[in-house]
Each structure stands twice: as structure tokens, then as C-alpha cells.
Amino acid sequence: MKPCRHSWGVKPVLNRFRLEFPSLPGNVGLARVAVAAFAAQLDPTVEELDDLKGAVSEAVTNAIIHGYGNSPEGMITIEAVLFGDAIEICVEDGGKGIEDVNRAMEAEFSSDPERLGLGFNFMRSFMDSVQVDSAPGRGTRVVMRKQFGPRH
């Protein structure tokens, strides 16, 4: 897949990071912590940080269980960019991809009967926008954005 491209109008990029790790369940927490420590630079509220952690947790979990079918052999990449008072987070896997993205994003749709099918709903409620770019055999990229509220 081509690398994540970040642009958000004319806002300058303040900071960014790229984190790669194998598709192990223990790394979901690593991803949450890294994004939270990074976003803390914008002095977000506790709720805003919880939203970011929640969204990252859903996207990385999906990459592990759906993208790579729980195999630890896959690699997951997170890129995060701070633009002014907003953050863009991109979670990418090279896994099996999604046939029908619109259907996958419907509430309570899951390809796994043991799961709730709420992952994308959580991402959408935690973030301002969620874009999914995926195709079978080409992996999945989830790009999420959130603008932080006016500073206290």
C-alpha cells in the first residue's frame, strides 16, 4: 500500500510519529499509550485522550484479528500527525482486506459471530471522521481525525 498521506488544509504539521509492530495482542496497549503520550502535547482533556485511546484500540484490534486472522506474523503501522489543534491517526495493516467497506462499517455487522460489530461505530463516535481504504488482499488503512476543543 502507498504510505499514509497527511494533509489538512493549510494547517502546518507540528509533530508526527510512525510506529510499526507485529500483530500481537499485547501491542494494542502499546499503540494506545504511544498515541496518548504523543497527543498529550496538545493538552487535550481527559475525555479527548480517552477517545483517542478507544479509537486506536479498535483499529489496531481489527488489524490483528480481522486483517491477520490472529496470526502474529503481520506488521501494523500507526502514523499520527498533529496539525494545529487537531490530530490525524492512520492505522494500516497488510492483511486480508475488506470486500465491502460500507457493509463492514454498518452498526453490528461483524464477520465473527463472537464479536459485537461495534468497532467502527466506536471509532466514529470517538473521532470526528473515519475513512477506510481497503481491498481484498491489499490490506486496510483507517484514517481518523479529531479536532480538540478550545483550550481551557
Binding site: 495482542p25 496497549g29 485511546k53 484500540s57 484490534t61 463472537e114 459485537l116 466506536f122
Partner: protein, 117 residues
């Protein structure tokens, strides 16, 4: 990550820490084992020590609730901080569950008014 307490036909499960994919399998197995071993009708989850939960963690909880609900069991919740409450509300869990202020209150309601064991 999980401390279990059975009082009569009520199972109280105290969750601890970050309830995500890392602990999901172990949590599922622990709960299933308890449901297999004791004659449990109602399930109560205590979230007081939960610092994070996502849809994977909720899935484990709701999966076990489905099992007891099939036999008329109820789902009780304890110790919801604002962060956990938001996730439970958003996922619809708050609508199907009953929230209690304490273990005793939960046991009294679910054991049908009998004193707690």
C-alpha cells in the same frame, strides 16, 4: 484481571486493569469456567478497577450475559466511572443491564430480596 465471587446464584466478576484483546481470551475462559462450575443465574460485573475497556472487552462480557440471559438471568453493573459508563452507554449495554450502587444492593435485588450470603 478477574476476581470471581459466587453468592448463591449470583456471580460477581471484578474486572481489573485494561480489558482489551490482550486479556480477552483469559477473561472469557475464566468466566466460562465459573458458569460451568457453579449454578449461576445472574451475572454482576464490577468495573471499579477497570482503567480501559473497548468493544473486544465488552464482547466478552455480553457473550457471557447471552449465556445466562437464555435461562432468564439478569446483568448487573457496579463501579462505573464516567469513562467506562460512556463506553457501556454507547454500546447499548446500559439499556439491558441494571446498575447498582454496591455489592449488597446488587445481591439483594438479584437474589430476590433474600439477605446476601
Amino acid at each position: 484481571m478477574l476476581v470471581l465471587d459466587a453468592a448463591g446464584d449470583v456471580l460477581i466478576a471484578q474486572l481489573n486493569g485494561e480489558i482489551d484483546l490482550k486479556v480477552a481470551d483469559e477473561l472469557r475462559r475464566g468466566l466460562e469456567r465459573a458458569l460451568d462450575s457453579y449454578s449461576i443465574r445472574h451475572l454482576v460485573f464490577d468495573f471499579e478497577k477497570v482503567s480501559f475497556i473497548d468493544s473486544t472487552g465488552l464482547g466478552v462480557i455480553l457473550g457471557r450475559y447471552k449465556r445466562v440471559a437464555a435461562a432468564g438471568g439478569r446483568l448487573g453493573l457496579l463501579g462505573l466511572c464516567p469513562k467506562v459508563r460512556r463506553v457501556l452507554e454507547f454500546s447499548g449495554v446500559l439499556r439491558i443491564a441494571e446498575e447498582f450502587a454496591s455489592r449488597n444492593e446488587a445481591l439483594q435485588a438479584l437474589m430476590g430480596g433474600e439477605a446476601s450470603a
